[in-house]
């Protein structure tokens, strides 16, 4: 057993270092799906967060609680919901998206949007509390106010994007349900690890695990760098 694991380790490292084509394809698809989801989630989440932060409406407090709660959505439940929507007999079944990368992007967008929207809401609201009177005194109009808040919050907002990406890249529950883990088409790092481990093909699983951890470390290093840059430039 010990020996088998050791062997799996070295061949996993070989796979990574030799940039094995099958492994690279899985990594590429994973990154594309998660990046796509983060972009879509940013397009929805930033304006949503800004609107909740800057407007007053009945039920606002409740919507903030719900939004914060949605940050912890279980990926398998999101996967199931998107599966039901996109399945043949589902409301969007005619789009024919089930078991495609597009379905995976949709599911991850649903997972990531609350994270980005909730973090953006908090950041923008805190900054607004601080800036409100000063901007009013400078006679800055509504559009100028939003632009100022977004610009001055840019480092925190970037951190929110990275948090969203980290969540998307690491989850398995949603993509495995709506993607189906089809070899060469919808197989991501996380789904491949789940499958290969259960099949007993440890080298590929471990190799992908190493790549995934490297990506998570890089994302966190970027987030750290962004924070430091923000402190240095903006104080």
């Amino acid at each position: 057993m010990q020996e088998k694991l050791m062997h799996a380790d070295t061949s996993a490292l070989d796979l990574v270092l030799s940039a094995d084509p099958a492994l690279m394809e899985i990594v590429r698809l994973s990154l594309l799906v998660s990046l796509g989801a983060v972009v879509a989630a940013a397009v929805i989440g930033f304006p949503l967060g800004a609107v909740i932060a800057l407007t007053r409406y009945p039920g606002r407090e409740a919507s903030i609680v719900v939004l914060n709660a949605l940050m912890g959505l279980p990926p398998v439940v999101v996967g199931l919901a998107v599966y039901l929507l996109l399945s043949r007999s589902g409301p969007l079944g005619t789009w024919g998206l089930l078991f495609t990368p597009a379905a995976m992007v949709i599911a991850q967008t649903i997972l990531v949007t609350p994270i980005i929207a909730a973090l953006a809401r908090q950041t923008i609201e805190d900054l607004w509390t601080e800036y409100r009177e000063e901007l009013a005194a400078m006679n800055v109009g509504p559009i100028g106010r939003v632009a100022t808040l977004l610009w001055d919050a840019r480092f925190s907002l970037l951190t929110a994007l990275l948090a969203g990406f980290g969540r998307a890249a690491a989850e398995v529950g949603a993509v495995i349900i709506v993607g189906g883990n089809i070899d060469g088409f919808t197989r991501t790092m996380t789904t491949a690890i789940a499958l290969e481990t259960s099949k007993g093909d440890l080298p590929l699983a471990i190799g992908l695990g190493m790549v995934l951890i490297a990506i998570v470390i890089i994302v966190n290093a970027l987030a750290w760098g962004v924070r430091r840059a923000g402190e240095r430039l903006a104080g």
Binding site: E133, A137, M138, G230, L233, A234
Partner: protein
């Protein structure tokens, strides 16, 4: 055909202005007129309503009753007025970028920004700090930056809320020098302080307020030589008013 005078924010007139938050009455029926000329200094103990009065005159809050007019008009946006808050908010940008922001907010054309920013920084004594993050400045430097930002819009009226509270003598002098220079250029300065020495040094007129009311309003020399009310006499004598 008559020539229409250019719109001016002066005089600023308060007519029986009250301001309250829920049950709490903060400004309790003030009538005042601020005209062009030497600085008007609002004095009064902590909590007497100086900051609230400045916010009303700046147009940041609306009276609960009564009205405020600027050059005879109500609801005039603060295009020609500026305020330096007691604790000014520094935008998360460099010192120079804070000035550029204020110039843009004042609608001043981009081609003028570089030169105007240089003048304003110079006037505030901040030229050497232009590229620093504004939030890293000392208290006195932040006040001067806020002052420069306020002057960026070339205001007719400049409000200052206890601009030298918690500053050391050197930093206080730097601020007071700018205030004097600004006033000499014809900008109407309206500032609050609870420092009587500062009021004596800068004021043309004194408005003494206490518990949300104007107790006395008079030329500074007259106010300090012959305070008319008991409260003013005690305040000038340095007694604690509560």
């Amino acid at each position: 055909m008559t020539m229409r005078a250019p719109d001016s924010d002066l005089p600023i007139v308060l007519e029986d202005v009250r301001y309250g938050v829920r049950d709490l009455i903060i400004i309790d029926g003030m009538s005042l007129m601020l005209t062009p000329g030497a600085p008007t200094v609002l004095i009064g103990p902590n909590g007497s309503g100086k900051t609230t009065l400045l916010r009303l005159m700046m147009g940041l809050i609306e009276p609960t009753s009564g009205r405020v007019t600027w050059g005879g008009r109500t609801h005039v946006p603060p295009a020609r007025r500026a305020i330096v808050f007691q604790r000014p908010v520094m935008l998360r940008r460099s010192v120079a970028a804070n000035i550029h922001y204020a110039l843009a907010a004042a609608g001043i054309g981009r081609h003028q920004h570089a030169e105007r920013a240089r003048d304003l920084l110079e006037q505030a004594g901040l030229s050497a700090l232009a590229e620093r993050p504004a939030r890293r400045l000392s208290g006195g430097e932040q006040q001067r930056l806020a002052l420069a930002r306020g002057l960026a819009r070339d205001p007719q009226v400049l409000f200052l809320d206890e601009p030298t509270a918690s500053l050391d003598p050197a930093a206080t002098k730097a601020i007071e020098d700018v205030v004097r220079a600004v006033s000499a250029r014809g900008i109407k300065v309206v500032m609050s302080t609870h420092d009587l020495g500062e009021a004596r040094r800068l004021a043309g007129d004194i408005v003494f307020i206490h518990r949300g009311r104007v107790i006395e309003s008079a030329p500074a020399a007259e106010f300090f030589a012959h305070p008319k009310t008991d409260d003013a006499r005690r305040f000038v004598a340095g007694e604690l008013l509560v």
